[in-house]
C-alpha cells in the first residue's frame, strides 16, 4: 500500500487531536471528522486505507456510518475499526455483524492502538485500495523494472460515460487509450487520486471499468479537462483494449457504432404502395423534402415542457408517435395526471392532418372501455392543437418482452384474452386500430391492459367507402392486405394481434429482415415460421390459434376477436385444470 491514510471519526475534538498525533508519530497520515457528512467528504477526497470510528458521532451513530460504508461498492473494502467504551463491549458484536474488521476499547492505550493499526495494514495488502490510489505495478515492482512501453493510441468518436459514484454519469470523449489508461475529455471536475468509473457501451454489452484519476490536465477551469484514468487490469478491459486496438488499426470503428436496424422497423409508417422503393419510410407521410428535419418535431415538443396549455401543465416528454408527441401533464382543475398528445408541426400546418388528429380524438372518445385509454379534452392553445387523455403509468408489452424474454405463461394468456376482448369492443364500434403492436399495448402498474395510440385508426365505414391506396401500420406486425394497400376490416387487426402475440410468446417477431421492404414482403409471401420452432414450450393449441389469426387470406382467419378470445379462454382453462393436483390425481387413478 503506497498511502496509509487513516480516517478518525469521533465527537471529541481532544480525542481526535491526541489519537491523530499518536498515529502521525507512528508514520501514518490522518484525517479527522466529527460527523458522518464530513467523514464522507473526506472519503471522497482521500485515499483512505483505514477508518477508526466511535460508536456515537455528532449526527448519526457509528453503526449507521459502518452500515453505509459496507453497502457502498466503492468503499466497502476499507477496513473499519470500531471504538467502544469498556462497559459497552456488546456493541462490538453488532459492529462485527455489520462488517467491522476489528474493535478497540476505551480508554485507549497509544501502543495498543498503533499495534492494532500496524496489524491491520500488515494483513490488508491484497485488499484493493478503496479510493483508487494505485499500488505500484505488481510486475514492475517484483522485477524492479518499469512496465513495457505502451504509447497511447489516438481514437476518435468514442463516447463513454464517466462517474464518481456509479449513480450519476457524465459524457466523456475518449481521446486516446493505452493498456493502463484512458485519456478522456470530460466536464467532470475530478481530483487526482479519486476513484472513477468508466461505462463503455458496445455491441456485446455494457461494461463498467474501475479506476482512478491519475492526472488531470486543464487549459483553464472553464473548459473540460483531459483526465487520465488509470484502469484496473480486468478481463473486460483487456478485451475492450485489444478490440479497440484492432479496430483503430483497421479503421473499422464505424461498424461497432452502427445503429441497430430493427427498432426502426417497429415504427409506424404511412406511405403509398408505389413508394416502397423510395425513401418514404424516412420521411413518413410527407412529400420528401430536402429541408425536412425530424428533429424539429422533438424540439417543438421540448419547447412546451414546463409550460401550461389551458388547464394542463406540461411536465415531461414521454415520447413521440406517428402523429405527434406525448407529454406527461397535470390537470390543474381536476387535479389528476394526464397524457397530452400534441400534433406535430408538420402535420399541424396541413388541414387534412389536423382533421385526422381531431378525428383520432373523436374515435377514441367514443370507445368507453376499461382497456382503452380515455380521451378527456381536445383543444387549441397558442395555436397548438392537442388533446388530453388518460395517463397510463406502466410498461409497454414491448418493454415487458424485452425484460422477461417472452410472455409464454398464464399471465401472457390473460393479456391475450384481454386484448382480444378490448379489440372486439373496438371493432364492434366500427373502428379498426390498424397499428396493433407490442409498443401500443400497455400494462399498468396495477396490471391492467390499455390499448393506446389510435393515431391511424379509422372507422370501418370510412375504409369501405375509400379507394385506399395508403400503406399504414408497423412493418413487423402488418397484415398482408395492409402491405398491399387494400381496404381493411377487423381481420387486419386480428392478424396484427396474432403477430404481436407471436412475438410475445416466442420472444421474436414472426418475420425478421434488415429493412422494412423485406419484412413486408414476408407478410405477403412467406409461410409463417412455425411458432414452436422458435419456442418449443408454446402449447400446440396456442400455436394453432396464432397461426389461424395470421393466415394470409383474411377469409381463413377468425371472423372476429370474440372467437379468438373464446379459444384462448378454453385453452387457458385446460392448462389451469391440468395444473391442479386433484386433476392430476384423477387422471392417474383413471
Amino acid at each position: 500500500m503506497t498511502e496509509k491514510i487513516i480516517l478518525l471519526i469521533n465527537r471529541d475534538a481532544a480525542f481526535l487531536d491526541q489519537t491523530g498525533s499518536t498515529l502521525e508519530d507512528a508514520g501514518y497520515h490522518t484525517r479527522t471528522a466529527s460527523e458522518m457528512r464530513g467523514a464522507l467528504a473526506l472519503l471522497s477526497a482521500n485515499a483512505v486505507g483505514l477508518i477508526i470510528c466511535d460508536k456515537a458521532l455528532q449526527d448519526v451513530s457509528g453503526f449507521d456510518l459502518l452500515n453505509f460504508i459496507k453497502k457502498d461498492p466503492l468503499r466497502e473494502k476499507i477496513p473499519f475499526m470500531f471504538l467502544v467504551p469498556a462497559n459497552e463491549q456488546g456493541g462490538a458484536f453488532k459492529a462485527f455483524e455489520l462488517g467491522a474488521a476489528d474493535y478497540l476499547v476505551y480508554p485507549l492505550a497509544p501502543q495498543i492502538l498503533v499495534d492494532a493499526v500496524d496489524e491491520l495494514f500488515a494483513t490488508d495488502d491484497d485488499v484493493p485500495l478503496p479510493s483508487g490510489i494505485p499500488e505500484a505495478h505488481p510486475t514492475a515492482a517484483a522485477n524492479g523494472q518499469t512496465s513495457p512501453t505502451d504509447d497511447p493510441i489516438p481514437v476518435s468518436g468514442l463516447i463513454i460515460d464517466v462517474s464518481r459514484d456509479g449513480v450519476l454519469w457524465l459524457p466523456g470523449n475518449v481521446q486516446s487509450f493505452s493498456r493502463q489508461s484512458l485519456y478522456i475529455e470530460t466536464a467532470l471536475f475530478g481530483k487526482q487520486g479519486v476513484s472513477l468509473l468508466a461505462r463503455i457501451k458496445r455491441a456485446d454489452g455494457t461494461f463498467v471499468l474501475n479506476g482512478y484519476i491519475k492526472e488531470i490536465r486543464f487549459e483553464d477551469f472553464q473548459k473540460p479537462a483531459i483526465i487520465e484514468m488509470s484502469v484496473q487490469e480486468e478481463e473486460a478491459w483487456r478485451r475492450i483494449h485489444d478490440d479497440l486496438t484492432q479496430k483503430t488499426q483497421h479503421q473499422t470503428q464505424e461498424a461497432a457504432d452502427q445503429p441497430e436496424v430493427e427498432p426502426q422497423l417497429e415504427k409506424t409508417i404511412v406511405m403509398s404502395p408505389t413508394g416502397i422503393d423510395k425513401t418514404a419510410y424516412k420521411t413518413g407521410p410527407f412529400k420528401p423534402s430536402k429541408k425536412k428535419d425530424p428533429s424539429y418535431d422533438r424540439r417543438f415538443y421540448h419547447s412546451l415542457i414546463g409550460r401550461q396549455l389551458d388547464n394542463y401543465r406540461a411536465i415531461t416528454l414521454i415520447g413521440t408517435g406517428s402523429m405527434g408527441g406525448v407529454i406527461q401533464g397535470w390537470d390543474v382543475a381536476l387535479e389528476r395526471e394526464v397524457a397530452l398528445k400534441v400534433i406535430s408541426y408538420g402535420l399541424s400546418s396541413k388541414e387534412s392532418f389536423r382533421e385526422m388528429f381531431i378525428k383520432e380524438a373523436r374515435v377514441v372518445s367514443r370507445l368507453n372501455h376499461l382497456n382503452v385509454a380515455q380521451i378527456y379534452y381536445i383543444g387549441t392553445s397558442s395555436d397548438i392543437l392537442y388533446y388530453a387523455m388518460e395517463f397510463v403509468d406502466g410498461l409497454t408489452m414491448k418493454e415487458l418482452i424485452a425484460e422477461q424474454g417472452n410472455l409464454n405463461n398464464l399471465k401472457g394468456l390473460e393479456y391475450f384474452i384481454t386484448v382480444c376482448e378490448a379489440l372486439y369492443f373496438v371493432n364492434q364500434n366500427s373502428v379498426i386500430h390498424r397499428d396493433i403492436k407490442p409498443a401500443n399495448i400497455m400494462i399498468t402498474r396495477a396490471g391492467n391492459i390499455k390499448i393506446v395510440d389510435f393515431g391511424v385508426a379509422v372507422s370501418a365505414d370510412t375504409v369501405k367507402k375509400t379507394t385506399n391506396n395508403q400503406i399504414i401500420g408497423s412493418p413487423m406486425y402488418m397484415s398482408p392486405e395492409q402491405v398491399a394497400g387494400l381496404s381493411l376490416d377487423n381481420r387486419s387487426d386480428i392478424y396484427s394481434v396474432g403477430a404481436t402475440f407471436y412475438h410475445a410468446f416466442t420472444g421474436q417477431p414472426p418475420f425478421q429482415g434488415t429493412d422494412f421492404k423485406t419484412i413486408m414482403a414476408h407478410h405477403v409471401q412467406t409461410p409463417l415460421p412455425p411458432i414452436r420452432k422458435k419456442n418449443a414450450n408454446v402449447p400446440a393449441a396456442l400455436a394453432r390459434i396464432i397461426e389461424k389469426m395470421m393466415a394470409k387470406d383474411p377469409l381463413e382467419r377468425y371472423k372476429d376477436f370474440q372467437y379468438v378470445a373464446n379459444d384462448v379462454k378454453a385453452l387457458r382453462a385446460h392448462i389451469v385444470d391440468r395444473k391442479r393436483p386433484s386433476s392430476r390425481q384423477t387422471k392417474t387413478s383413471g
Binding site: 471536475f189 397535470w330 400546418s349 397548438i384
Partner: protein
C-alpha cells in the same frame, strides 16, 4: 405587452420574425451594444454571423445577464451555416433555427417557448420548500451570505448555464438528482467564505471540495426533513462539473425544478429532480 428582443438582426430576419411571432408581442431590433437588460424580455433572438467566436461570446454574455431566468435565446443562422447546433447551444442558446427551416416548424417552436412557465404542483411544492429553506440556511451558516429565493421554473433539459455545478445522486424511497450551479464570480466568493481563505488563494482543489461540500450539505440537511415521507432519499457522492454550458445527467423523463436564488447582485440555481419510486405490480 411582452417584448421580444432581436439583436443584430437584418431587416429580412426582423420582418420574418415579426410575421412568425403573431400575438401580443412587441418586436424590437437593437444592436448588441444597445441591448436592454435581458430580464425584461420574453425572448431574445440573435442573428449569427461569420465571426463565430464573437457570436459565441455574445450568447454567453446575454445568458449570463439573464441570471438563470428562463428566457429563451434563439439563434437564427444562415442556411449554409454548417456549424453544428451544439456550438451555439453550449454557448447558451436555447434553440437554433436556420433561415431555410420550415416556417411552420419555426412558428410552433417559437410559440412553444412563449407559453408562460407552469407553476409548481402541490406535491412539488411539498418537496421543493425544504430545499429552498435549507439552501438559504446553509449559505448563511457556511458562507455567511444572504440568499433570497426568487423564482422556480421547470425544465427537462440536461443543460444549465453556469460555470460550475455540484451534483449529487439521490436513491432510496425517492430517487433523482440535486445540483447547484454557479458562475465563477459567485462560486469563488462562496468557496472563499466557506473555506476561510482569501479569493486569490483559491485553487482547483478548494473549488472542487467547496462546490462538492456545498451540494453535499444542502442535500444532507434537506434529507433529514424528509424522514418518514415518500420523498426520503439517501445520498451518493457529490460530483463536480465545470465548463460553460456543461450538461448534467438527470434521470430520463423527469421534470427538473430550477430554483433561482439571488445573492446580492448575483444569482445561482439549485436544480431538484426528485421522483418517489413506484413499483410495477
Amino acid at each position: 405587452m411582452d417584448t421580444i428582443l432581436l439583436i443584430d438582426c437584418s431587416d429580412d430576419v426582423t420582418t420574418s420574425m415579426a410575421g412568425l411571432l403573431k400575438g401580443n408581442h412587441q418586436v424590437v431590433n437593437v444592436s448588441f451594444e444597445d441591448r436592454d437588460i435581458p430580464g425584461k424580455n420574453k425572448m431574445i433572438i440573435l442573428q449569427a454571423h461569420d465571426d463565430l467566436d464573437a457570436i459565441s461570446k455574445k450568447i454567453s454574455k446575454i445568458r449570463y445577464e439573464c441570471k438563470f431566468r428562463d428566457i429563451p435565446i434563439v439563434v437564427v443562422k444562415q442556411s449554409e451555416d454548417q456549424i453544428p447546433l451544439e456550438y451555439y447551444l453550449s454557448s447558451g442558446a436555447t434553440e437554433v433555427l436556420p433561415l431555410d427551416a420550415p416556417p411552420g416548424a419555426c412558428r410552433q417552436i417559437l410559440q412553444g417557448y412563449l407559453i408562460p412557465s407552469r407553476k409548481p404542483l402541490e406535491s412539488e411544492t411539498e418537496y421543493l420548500t425544504p430545499f429552498i429553506e435549507n439552501t438559504i440556511n446553509v449559505l448563511k451558516a457556511t458562507a455567511q451570505m444572504d440568499a433570497v429565493f426568487r423564482e422556480v421554473y421547470f425544465s427537462n433539459d440536461f443543460r444549465i448555464f453556469g460555470d460550475i455545478s455540484g451534483i449529487i445522486g439521490l436513491s432510496g424511497v425517492s430517487e433523482g438528482t440535486v445540483a447547484v450551479t454557479l458562475y465563477w464570480d459567485l462560486a469563488r466568493k462562496i468557496i472563499a467564505n466557506m473555506m476561510h481563505v482569501a479569493d486569490n488563494q483559491l485553487n482547483a482543489e478548494y473549488i472542487h471540495d467547496g462546490v462538492g461540500e456545498l451540494i453535499n450539505v444542502i442535500s444532507g440537511s434537506t434529507k433529514k426533513r424528509f424522514k418518514g415521507t415518500p420523498f426520503h432519499f439517501d445520498l451518493s457522492l457529490p460530483t463536480v462539473v465545470v465548463g460553460s454550458g456543461h450538461q448534467l445527467g438527470h434521470p430520463d423523463n423527469s421534470s427538473i425544478a430550477v430554483l433561482i436564488f439571488d445573492v446580492a447582485q448575483m444569482a445561482f440555481v439549485l436544480q431538484v429532480c426528485l421522483k418517489p419510486k413506484q413499483k410495477q405490480s
